[in-house]
Symmetry: C2
Subunit: 113 residues, 2 copies
């Protein structure tokens, strides 16, 4: 698969060829997680409607939920004004965080709350 | 100012010494913008309660709204499970985006909506 040329031309990738992806629960509007995408991950997210990312540690694509079953059904994808970050709105099955919490931001409050 | 040692010890900074900051409107839960922080930016955000970031292009700290007046009053800061991203909940004065839109994700819908 190849990312749409018009979209590919707009992206401002980092030195590793990646853009940032902020994933939001479509129903609650809560930020679930932040991950990274290369062109192929973005293409697959747009075409398969499953949240798909690039793992910097494993250096390969991964489909969210491919092992846990906690897949993401993609409802909307938006690009930011700098073209280096996408906002991905999803229906999340199960917890989004690999630690088992609903979001990746549930455990460590630094201030406020 | 120096970032709290307990927090500093937890952070997993990228090669440039930065963590990602996802900024959310405390009232609407909408994602307003994504920016970057070094230790000093995080310390200032926590202590001054004004959204403060590190500009990769200008290579210096910036306080959101320092020129536009569209400052952010920080309500809550959370660290994610990987300790490389913070979620900053703010009361945003005026539009968050430098283009004048309410958020940085209002203009470019790639899919859905």
């Amino acid at each position: 698969m190849t990312l749409d040329a018009g979209i590919a031309a707009k992206l401002k990738r980092n030195a590793d060829g990646l853009i940032c992806a902020v994933v939001v629960d479509h129903t609650t509007n809560d930020v679930l997680m932040v991950a990274w995408m290369d062109d192929e991950a973005l293409d697959r997210t747009l075409t398969t409607r499953r949240g798909t990312y690039y793992s910097r540690s494993r250096q390969r694509l991964w489909v969210k939920g491919e092992t846990s079953g906690n897949v993401q059904h993609v409802r909307e994808v938006r690009l930011d004004c700098d073209a280096d970050t996408v906002l991905v709105r999803v229906d999340q099955e199960g917890p989004a965080c690999h630690t088992g919490t609903r979001t990746c931001f549930d455990s460590d409050l630094l201030s406020g709350g």
